[in-house]
Symmetry: C2
Subunit: 133 residues, 2 copies
């Protein structure tokens, strides 16, 4: 799927084997979530073209959408200057990236002059329905 050239290698050793991975909507530019990748997750993402992360809470490889079907199709990958963070430009199947059913995990927002957090990302699905919990 992706063939990363030799000079496009994340540095997994800087942060205990993990890099930060930002999933960005390829069309709108909205930032949907931030998660973590170890080398196994990186290689699985490259070979399948679907986002794989390392779940720090479950301590296991996490194929995003594996239970809900809402996978992330990776259209392009950007690497930062010191090679410890990447952007995945994605198409989110099911439209919602967040486990709360919202489009973006970054759904709370503050601006100067207000002491109330506004909700800035819509609810797409009911998580109780999708995850059958």
């Amino acid at each position: 799927m992706f063939e990363a050239p030799k000079d496009f290698n994340p540095d997994f050793f800087k942060s205990g084997g993990l890099i930060a991975a930002i999933a960005q909507d390829a069309e709108s530019g909205e930032i949907l979530m931030l998660a973590w990748m170890n080398e196994e997750a990186w290689n699985a993402t490259l070979s399948t073209g679907e986002a794989h992360y390392w779940s720090r809470s479950r301590q296991k490889l996490w194929h995003k959408g594996e239970s809900s079907g809402n996978v992330q199709k990776v259209l392009a990958i950007r690497l930062d200057c010191d090679s410890d963070a990447v952007i995945l430009e994605i198409r989110q199947i099911g439209d919602a990236a967040c486990h709360t059913g919202r489009k973006s995990c970054f759904y709370r927002r503050i601006v100067p002059g207000s002491n109330i957090a506004e909700i800035c990302s819509p609810q797409i699905f009911d998580p109780a329905e999708v995850y059958k919990k």
Copy 2:
């Protein structure tokens, strides 16, 4: 400057006192950089409205742009669902966020079907000139 409500508190304890902070161009939506914040950097960002980070390499508070003058004016802040990552919606003074003089730190990009990384973010300044190194 910013008054964060009580339910808008990052969880600094999950990752050894640090949260991930994504700086996003408030106008274009382009992701400019990813850095880290401890509680001191968070509070300094809220009170001044300019991005402050924790430099992991130098182990000190880092007022972005303190040496170059290219500070980041924070227009809004978004917090994610598990409160360990934030987006700073910023206006980048001097237009370049990266120490290489590029607009974005994420200036290398790969797509399926090519084994060459394209350069996707323009050079704005010569770092040798700005940092006088």
